[in-house]
């Protein structure tokens, strides 16, 4: 049982990683991307194509897929999402939902509805024994990579010129423009970063579980739950939210194996009722 819960927490790190990209959109850019999960699945399929054509390990596909997804995100923001900004909250929701449906069906046409996974080779079965419990090396690696990406993101958005520009733009676009920030380019880069992070999450997801063109929306819901449970606007909160969600789902599978997602959703809804601001509410400075 302890092993299941620990593994749940490690899977939760992956949910945190799903959430990080969404957190950048929602928290910093104040813009939603309902196709977030479908982009994760799309990245996994690109990695699968690279693996089958060049025979490389999924981890080696990572440095190729992440830049591709950065470009996809940049173009998406520049040519589609940007046109919805400043028109209220509804257009981005509707446009990104349309994108989600299109992406799912394009993937269905290109890759069929078959369930796929990214074969991690020997890495998939390697485990270390910690006392009485055996923990897989791959889940541990996922946690380590997730923590690394979170630290990098926090550093970039907290203390670089680019991070400052994004935060300034999200606070007040007009003033940011007056200060010489090219706000549209800043948002395009942030969206690129969000999808590049999703690509990293996608590869670890593909190595641990199975995916098909219809599994995207569920990823998006997990990502959203991690963001809201952790507290919108808090980068590390998203990782904590993801881990809580992972443990909740693992606890659910202990009852009935297929019950994981349901228990996760219910814990999210209860969390929302008890702590509307999430675990780490961003302090509002006067």
């Amino acid at each position: 049982m302890l092993e299941t819960l620990i593994n749940g927490a490690l899977v939760g790190a992956l949910y945190g990683l799903y959430g990080l990209g969404l957190s950048l959109c929602l928290g910093l850019m104040r813009q939603i991307n309902l196709a977030h999960g479908d982009f994760i699945i799309f990245s996994a399929f690109i990695a699968l194509q690279l693996m089958t054509h060049f025979g490389i390990h999924p981890l080696l596909a990572l440095p190729i897929v992440a830049p591709i997804m950065f470009v996809v995100g940049w173009l998406l923001q520049r040519f589609v999402m940007e046109r919805t900004l400043g028109r209220g909250e509804m257009p981005p929701i509707l446009v990104s939902f349309g994108l989600s449906v299109i992406l799912q069906n394009v993937m269905l046409e290109l890759f069929s509805a078959d369930t796929k996974s990214l074969d991690p080779g020997a890495l998939g079965t390697a485990a270390v024994n910690l006392g009485s419990v055996a923990i897989g090396v791959l889940p541990l690696l996922t946690l380590a990579v997730a923590v690394g990406i979170f630290a990098l993101t926090a550093a970039v958005f907290g203390s670089t010129r680019f991070g400052r520009a994004v935060r300034a733009t999200s606070d007040n676009e007009a003033v940011a423009q007056l200060m010489g920030i090219r706000t549209r380019r800043v948002f395009a880069n942030a969206m690129g970063a969000a999808l590049a992070i999703s690509a990293i999450a996608a590869i670890f997801y593909g190595m641990r579980g199975t995916f098909d063109p219809s599994t995207g929306p569920e990823r998006m819901l997990f990502a959203f739950e991690a963001v809201i449970l952790g507290g919108l606007g808090s980068i590390w909160g998203t990782l904590a939210g993801g881990i809580i969600l992972g443990i909740a789902q693992a606890a659910g599978t202990l009852i009935i194996p297929s019950l994981g997602p349901l228990v996760g959703h219910i814990v999210f809804l209860i969390g929302l009722l008890l702590m509307p601001g999430g675990l780490f509410t961003k302090r509002i400075r006067a």
Partner: protein
């Protein structure tokens, strides 16, 4: 130019529709009647989602939850009591309204994009619960067994009549709500919740009312749809495809107008009936069209049409009286 009053024009338009709905079963083939039954159900659902999102600004992306609950309620009640299913659409409406009331404490913690995904999560929770409930048939769903004893043509006309009635109620509800104080409050709330509240609109109450109406009629329409299909399952009843159909129809027709969903649903069925069975390609085309409309012509097909014929079929807009005119 002499024009009838807006309300009279709206009622005339609904009256013409009612007349058409009366003629179809008399003159139409079996296929035409079945298709119209389905169109009436889908149009009622689209009208209700538009009322919620287009007029109220509550972008409820889990609307399929009411369709599924409506369908299941009808099946359970009719099968359980062994009675003909048709009157139970009223029960479906009541159960959906009750469910809507139940989720408001969670739902209205959120707003905008977060409410959109939150409502999606709620729909997933219900789908998964139904999926794991063996009394409801689990993943396989359930069949409507009480219609087996009913004569085929009686069943056809009764299903058609129920669906057509739900559509007329949906249309009249939209007109009545949007022409009155409530519609004004709703649109004020969508434009600026802060200003609306300052003018005396109680936001939470207005939001709750519009959700209740949309849930009730949406649930009744869902029940009508599954009366045609005779089989409901968690995967189909709570499918995100519902949301895709509603959204694409409403956007293509013109979100935030009464005529928009009507035009949009007409476009949707026209494309579906003429393009044949092209599966996923169909959703790709609809999605691209919807995004194009959203970015380039947010008013949709109806606003393009209106700029040509210059008339509101179901007028709900208000215009300022010119200075000097008495009220």
């Amino acid at each position: 130019m002499i024009m009838a009053s807006p309300l009279a024009r709206s009622l005339a338009a609904v009256g013409i529709l009612a007349a058409v709905l009366l003629v179809i079963p008399l003159a139409g083939s079996r296929y035409a009647i079945l298709l119209t039954t389905e169109i009436a159900a889908v149009l009622s659902i689209a009208l209700m989602w538009n009322l919620l999102a287009g007029f109220g600004g509550i972008v409820f992306m889990g609307f399929q939850v009411f369709i599924g609950i409506g369908g299941y309620t009808l099946f359970v009640a009719s099968n359980g009591l062994g009675l003909p299913p048709f009157p139970f659409v009223v029960l479906s409406a009541l159960v959906c309204a009750g469910f809507a009331l139940l989720i408001t404490p969670i739902l209205f913690r959120l707003s905008g994009a977060q409410l959109a995904i939150g409502s999606w999560v709620i729909s997933e929770v219900i789908r998964l619960i139904v999926y794991h409930t063996s009394a409801l048939g689990g993943g396989g769903g359930m069949a409507l067994t009480t219609v087996r004893g009913i004569d085929r043509s009686v069943r056809l006309f009764a299903t058609y009549g129920t669906s057509a009635l739900v559509l007329l109620v949906a249309l009249l509800a939209c007109i009545a709500l949007m022409r009155g104080r409530f519609g004004l409050a709703l649109r004020a709330m969508k434009d600026s919740p802060l200003a609306a509240e300052a003018m005396g609109v109680t936001i939470r109450k207005t939001q709750t009312y519009v959700l209740l109406v949309a849930a009730a009629i949406g649930g009744a329409a869902g029940a009508c749809y599954y009366m045609v299909v005779l089989q409901v399952s968690p995967t189909a009843g709570f499918s995100m495809n519902w949301m895709a159909i509603i959204l694409f129809a409403v956007i293509l027709g013109g979100i935030g107008t009464l005529e928009g969903p009507i035009v949009g649903v007409a476009i949707y069925f026209l494309l579906r009936e003429t393009m044949g069975n092209i599966g996923s390609l169909y959703f790709i085309i609809l999605g691209l069209l919807a995004i194009g409309v959203m970015l380039l012509a947010p008013g949709g097909a109806w606003s393009l049409l209106k700029s040509v014929i210059r008339i509101d079929l179901l007028p709900i807009r208000r215009t300022m009286r010119e200075a000097g005119q008495s009220a």
